[in-house]
Amino acid sequence: MQSAKQAKFWFVALNEYRKHVFQKRFILAIISVPALLSVTFLVGFLTEYFNRNMDPIGYVDQAGALADTIPIPEGVGNSQKVDFLAFADQESAEQALEAGEIQAYYLIPQAYALTREVSLVYIEEPGMNAEDDFFDFLRTNLSGNLPERVQILVLDGFDVTVRSLDGSREFSEKYIFNLILPVVFGFLFTFVLTSGSGYLSNAVTEEKENRTIEILSTSMSANQFILGKVLGIVMVIFTQVISWIMFFVLAYFGARAAFDAAWIDHAQIDYQQLLVLVMLFIPAFFFFSGIALTISSMVTDSSEGQQMIGIISMPVGFSYWFAFLIISNPGSVLSTILSLIPFTLPTLMPLRLAFGLVPWWQILLGVGITTLGAFFTIWLAARAYEIGMMQYGKRIRLGELLRNSSGGGAKK
């Protein structure tokens, strides 16, 4: 009995969670993002697939660059490559093109060594793969006489590793997720806040609309009620986010298995950075949830609440205006200040992490400020709930909320 009394906020949280999660619209919301991305990927894949043409490509080598041809080595370029047919002169290549034996032909002029320019001749536009395959073929043959290490660089390109002076950060193809993850986290936060605003704006107003608010207020304290609501909605949002993350992880391993892309194979996740991002994400979401619940307690209906929460969420969107500043100078005073303010921290601190070095004390300070901010907004939400719970059809003014909250007695 005693434990049940203490855990009332858990019952509120679980009720809130079950109310949203076991609904068709929630399941649709979870499926919609992976479905949209899958469809986008599929459309892209099909577009490329149907624009491929595996008919041979001809070439007329007036410069003698491809005298003794060697094939493209395995692992370079597309996995399936077109065949290349040499023609002695442009006339025979033209005849083969008109007869449909080749999809196009390249003319390598005598002055190629000077101009490095070739001409492509076709009747119907050749497949998207044709150009890539021909230049891989050309590079392979032009670098054939070079030492093997140089030839690898010519064919694979350079892998530049940028390392911070203190050695704590490194950026290379191997650590591409160090750049991608913070940016994705910023966008994910914005997206989650937008999609979560519906739940948040309804959280208290629906209790007013259902007339359950009197039963709740005579069963537990305002603090327990608001804490339960916040936890419930955070659990709902995290279920959504974790489902999407699982989709991306599956997609990642699927892509590794299906595609022969070296960067996917070599890419590694910096788990320390991931932990920092999660540390930023959680208090920031509680902070905004507290604000949203304060609004939900102050307004008369959920649509009004949603509009106001939209306004409060605007700093998150506006913070991208400062993205260039952060990217170009992540260590500046303004970048530092903006990344410590709870309204802009969820998007700008990840950008600083992606493009610069952020000292640990600043990360901890940002998390600390946002955590304190979260406690404050949740406390304020509880006071707004106390004042607004019995005011059907009447909005509470901000001044009234602050006056009553600072006076200690929040109840009307």
Binding site: M1, K5, F11, N210, E214, T218, M220, K411
Partner: protein
Amino acid sequence: MYSVEVSHIAKAFGSNQAVKDVSFQVRPGEIFGLLGPNGAGKTTSIRMLLDIFKPDAGEIAVLGGGITEEKKNRIGYMPEERGMYQDIPLERCLVYFGQLKGLTKSEIDHRLEGWLGMFDLSAHRKKKVKELSKGMQQKAQIIATLLHEPELIIIDEPFTALDPVNTQMIKDLLISQRDKGVTILMSTHQMHQVEELCDRILLVHKGEDLLYGKLADIRKQFASHAVQVRASGQIPELKGITGREPVNGGWMLRLDAEITPQDVLTQLVNAHVIVDQFEIAEPSLDQIFIEVVAEENADAISEAS
């Protein structure tokens, strides 16, 4: 110790003085009626004693002091604005309310069986609340109020939306709760319902106490010197009767100050009248209320002039 002690509470919302000065005590194990017309200040008074609103003035003690989190589990409250979650099954809704009152899931499951059976709701437990009739939702609300076996029940307009059968059922239920020692504070504007149930009442009008005390004493206080008689055949002329008026198929006989009801009955028997009903006329609460309000209004007009 009283279960509820309210002393000179007042509450205003802006310029609207909802409660001016209300005081009453509720004794343990009694059914107390908080009566008054719509807008009299009953619900605001209840919300103050439940700590939903803070009073502007006055003192309130419930179960021996101010409302605490622990005390909330000892009180069952059915608000005037019935509140259930419309989109979830009835059973889940009741389990949730039970948990908020400190019950464990197994305690709720055990108790719910009996309550749902008693109210003929067992077959509807898996239905969404919005699929239930208004009467069923009202019964479900009563289960939510009583499930945790509270010491003090505060119930606001309990008979709204109930048919006569269910109204009687709720009355019987409230009486059985009182017999178990539970204190009940009932607020209603349906005064005739109170007459059968309440031990003591407070009549509130325009946010102020109007009448307070035992129901029987109040009735006696307002009883006119009259008897109500229903007889087969004509009632002859009787000595000491100053007037007669038809009431509910019988007659209200107003008596001279020197005549007792016993004298009237003796005269009727001597006149060989077959008496079907003979009782000392006591005014209904509605009549008392109208009389008191009329007096108050007359006083106010004379004071103003």
